[in-house]
Amino acid sequence: MSHGHSNPLQHPEVQMASRSSYLAGFVIASLLMLAATILVSGQVLAPFALLLTIMGCAGLAAIAQMYFLLHIDISEHNIWNTVALVMFIPLFVITIGLTWWMFSQLYMRTMPMIPGMPGMH
């Protein structure tokens, strides 16, 4: 084990920090969030198109932050982090996607639309 053998500040994970890439991640994510906020507060698009657009914004912002901030790439020191993330992403999708799909069906089949039902504004 390399306790005290080398200067921890020379460790590649310290050295990979970079002001410009952090700044890039910040700017991209901020602009995307700004765009989403303007679109939503102005309601300029049809609801479905708006939803797709802000989903796109969220996806791009997350990817930008992953790449520029969290260094998710295939460099030697981050490959395992990337592998772990790639393994997790389908699970996030499954957890959320299959649950939503299942419940969209379940709601249709178990919640009859009765007059006077709460939430039927």
Binding site: H3, E13, A17, L51, I54, W80, W100
Partner: protein
């Protein structure tokens, strides 16, 4: 693999013990493990998102208000900027660490803490405003899910701030030892990950909720 059995082995050339094995890279091992914790934390958020999706139908809000009635997008956008700036400040602090600049690291971290505090303060203010309007988690399943998702994120921010406080003390006390550096990198990932999660919460809970 069966071929390995068949090859004749020269006893003089075979290496049985590795005498130049220095062991593992302590910092990388630590940060990799922490990254896996972060991903499992992501799974926690994914589950909350799944619950939120199921509980965001119109009948889920019972007779109470829906997010469209209480979300203020620009207010939350300011929160977003506070968090993003805090993450940026922490990033700059880590960039200062490359050259071993203690002052740079500490200044960046203090800036990050202040901005994180602003985020948390805005969040608390928002929650108090909602509670004063009678919009509490007890009102409906939809609001329960709304609070769960947003406040679990806020709790992460709170933990992050305490952690930063501890790291400030450790940097001053011990300097950049292997342990401290490893923790700073873990904290960087933790903090940046909160920004990633916030993107989803902001867009899918606040903005989408405001839309529908």
């Amino acid at each position: 693999m069966s071929s390995a059995h068949d090859k004749p082995v020269n006893p003089d050339q075979v290496v049985l013990w590795s005498d130049d094995y220095e062991g593992h890279d302590v910092i990388s091992t630590r940060t990799f493990g922490f990254w896996m914790y972060i991903l499992s934390d992501g799974m926690l958020f994914a589950t909350l998102f799944a619950a939120y999706g199921v509980l965001s139908y119109s009948h889920s809000y019972y007779t109470g208000p829906t997010p469209a009635q209480f979300v203020a997008p620009w207010y939350t956008f300011i929160q977003t900027m506070a968090l993003f700036l805090s993450v940026l400040a922490y990033g700059f602090s880590m960039a200062s660490m490359k050259t071993g600049s203690k002052a740079g690291v500490i200044n960046g971290m203090i800036a990050s803490m202040v901005l994180g505090g602003v985020f948390l303060g805005l969040n608390i203010h928002d929650v108090l405003r909602m509670i004063s309007m009678g919009i509490t988690p007890e009102v409906s399943g939809g609001l329960s899910a709304f609070y769960a998702l947003t406040q679990v994120h806020a709790a992460h921010i709170f933990v992050g701030l305490i952690w930063m406080l501890v790291m400030l003390y450790q940097i001053l006390k011990k300097g950049f030892t292997e342990d401290v550096v490893g923790r700073l990198i873990s904290l960087r990932m933790f903090w940046q990950f909160q920004a990633v999660m916030w993107v989803f919460i902001y867009v899918f809970v606040y903005l989408w909720g405001y839309m529908s």
